[in-house]
Amino acid sequence: MKFWGTLVFGSALAGASVAYYVRERSQATGQSYLDVVLQLPSDARRGYGEARRRARLAIDDGLRAARARERQVEQLLVVAAPRDDDPAV
């Protein structure tokens, strides 16, 4: 019963999402609902590819930012560390 309930709820949610998307897309482009529905697979593939591309570039940017931040923290630690020739030590 729980499985079927989840399935029905998920189906209803997915259907509502698709319906909302179709309506918004139709209003934005002036196409009919049928045309928008027919374009759904290509839109999905396009969105998936764009998301992959963005994710790959975002990961590269994140790695560069992480390395830069690590170097910055290392420099801060080196500057903040007491030296042996410091008279206050």
Partner: protein, 201 residues
Amino acid sequence: MTNLLLIAAVSTPSMALRYAAAFFLVVVGIGLIYALVHLGGALGSAEKLLTDVDTEVVPLLQQATETLDGVNTELDKVGVVMSSVVDVTEKVDQTTRIVESAITVPAKKAAAFGAGVSQAVSSFFNRGSDASAPLDNDEPSSAAAWSSPAGYAPGAAAPEASGAATSSDPATPPSAGAPATGSGDAPADASAPETEEVSGG
């Protein structure tokens, strides 16, 4: 009579000399007695001084010896304490180094992870249609935000600028330069499925 005259003749200067000698001896004796009396007094004073020194300095020396023994004992204790302090200082230094290494490395990694995730998220959501241009680490792109699929448009420069990164991508939008909204991109979007299917097929 002759003897008396002889004696008188002989003894007159002799007696004078004898008297002079006796007088000299008496004077010398008196001087010696005076000097000896003074010397005796001085020696008595010296003896008294030495007696006083003997009676007073010896206890002082004994007290000084006891004090020095106590000071030596305390210095030994201070030495032990100082060695303990040195040991504690070394342990504190080692502990500080361990704690420092245990804190700084995770903190550094956490800072790097946070910066990386922040930059990645910012880059993912802020990268607009000109996403092929790499972002600067310090200045996230302020390009058009990622829109919902309903408002998704291929954008003006993304297909051209994406280059090799998107050339093999089957999701490359064919309608480059088409506006995001409006009825003008309807034919381009309408032709997308065929193009996608051909390129993907």
